[in-house]
Subunit: 359 residues, 2 copies
Amino acid sequence: MDALLLTAPADVFYATGFLTRFWESPARPWFVVIPRSGDPVAVIPAIGAALMARTWMPQIRTWDAPDPRDDGIGLLTEVLGDLVPEQGCIGLPMGLETHLRMPLADYADLCGRLAPRSFVDATRVIQHVREVKSPAEIAKIRTSCAIAGRAFDAVPQFARPGRPLDRVFRDFQMHLLDEGADWVSYVAGGAGPDGYGDVISPAGSQPLRHGDVLMLDTGAVREGYFCDFDRNFAIGAASDVARRTHAALWQATEDVLQALRPGMLACDAHRLLCDGLTRHGAIPGGGRLGHGLGITLTEWPSFTPLDRTELREGMVLTLEPGAVIAEGRIMVHEENIVLRADGPELLSPRAPHDLPVIA
Amino acid sequence: MDALLLTAPADVFYATGFLTRFWESPARPWFVVIPRSGDPVAVIPAIGAALMARTWMPQIRTWDAPDPRDDGIGLLTEVLGDLVPEQGCIGLPMGLETHLRMPLADYADLCGRLAPRSFVDATRVIQHVREVKSPAEIAKIRTSCAIAGRAFDAVPQFARPGRPLDRVFRDFQMHLLDEGADWVSYVAGGAGPDGYGDVISPAGSQPLRHGDVLMLDTGAVREGYFCDFDRNFAIGAASDVARRTHAALWQATEDVLQALRPGMLACDAHRLLCDGLTRHGAIPGGGRLGHGLGITLTEWPSFTPLDRTELREGMVLTLEPGAVIAEGRIMVHEENIVLRADGPELLSPRAPHDLPVIA
């Protein structure tokens, strides 16, 4: 590859340090070009010039966006045309978990203008670099985890029987902010007797009831770095099955905290978690049981039977075992770790073994 | 077009009612297919089946994602192959302000598998429908605006001299949640003497100082619908230039609230705002001066000199004049409206004419 072209918020932030919530507006594309040698170039809307100028980026080219006649494609063609020889190729993330954050018609136009230069998939090289976190990155994720830990400690203050679930979600987000989150990109959860159904729905207005298990899960962000872990609480009292399931999830996690090592594969982590759940009397839930974590809520790899990514020292990962309690009813547990040479080091404050009861 | 293929969160929500923060994870693609006639089909990761089943969608097909061997492309090929004849074409948003939310390599694979069926740009048809809001949509945006209005009313409680700007951003988000936002997708702002520099940077830890103008801008979300407006405050005291600029922004907005009508073009709104600012003694700021609003923070059209989109009854829009105070120093003002047959109706509680001073 003669150059990399980056368009996604996380890749742009990773390469440049350019951090903004302005990505929430779909109106404008943003480009960063990293040549094989020489200085990288930011090709961005003029509205971002002042913020980009405060990063390390040595070259910033801007246009007045949005421009329906040419929304940066002419300028980007010029920059890439200068840096990449005619027979050269340009790397772009095209693989799993990536998206092209620019209009597809503009990409087709760009390909035509730059031909015979070709675009090739650069997912692997970007993934390989982003997967392993620096000490500075690990410190930031630890800070986000500590913020969420303090917010989880406050849950008994507001998650009382009768409190509507949507109000609980709001209270939790307020505590995350009060404890130091810059913003809260993700909150999910659920509540129900012994466990919960789906964990991706917005909260409804149904009140917490005695005997419910409440789960809250968050991706809170500090300085661009996410945490991603959850906690479970029994409202009023915990049933035997809820207590046993929580203990099994906790113990299966504990076993993997002891056993996981660099050199294992992502699918090995999945197998270890499944085996642990079974050994401790729980039925493993479907789907993936953990994933990478950092500048997005979830990153490569995925703990599934199919992912053969090698786990390496310095990877930040979630351990996320799920157990099936009954048809359509589950309990999930999650911790965040950094993988060291001698095994996992916790970044999230460890959940208690016993399911906490909010009296 | 024989079918539409939707991949972006807003388009999927618009077509189905499927609302979740789970989009924050880039791990899985989601697809909705809308054939020219007959039932639409959701082709989604199994983890979303329960939530999608609570929408009106009559057909839901799932796979276990993420799957590095085939992340839904085989299933999507089957669904589209059944619905679209071999010589037919499939509409996909490819134009300005759209992104393809699936891996580019999987899209290339899909194109190959479905050939000779072709993909064509469907931006215009989706834009044309989404631009005009239903009464139910307008009511939801009004609710989000009211929530933000109450949070802005609380700003004098926490934006005191000496308070760090990042703490002010957190306090503001907490008030938005407390007033009823489900989540806060966007907060931006700035502070400085007479005005501020860039308005897309995260807040730093510098304290508010006597004489600063503080601006806070938010896209708070309730039931999937955004508001997007800002408010300015003078800390301790307002300088003459800050007061005059605020009054000019307010009056230029007031003039457009009187003058805007269906049938005008987006570029006409830009011109009216520029003319008003000049008439009232301010220097119009660069960039766009308003845009659409609804299920994303910003939608089509853009109030720029280049956007010739016709403004139609039922469009929800922001009026966002900006004034240059000095080199690199601006003040911006924003209101949200729905365009009625006889002109704009405010959705945001109107800003005061005089720049409020927080004593």
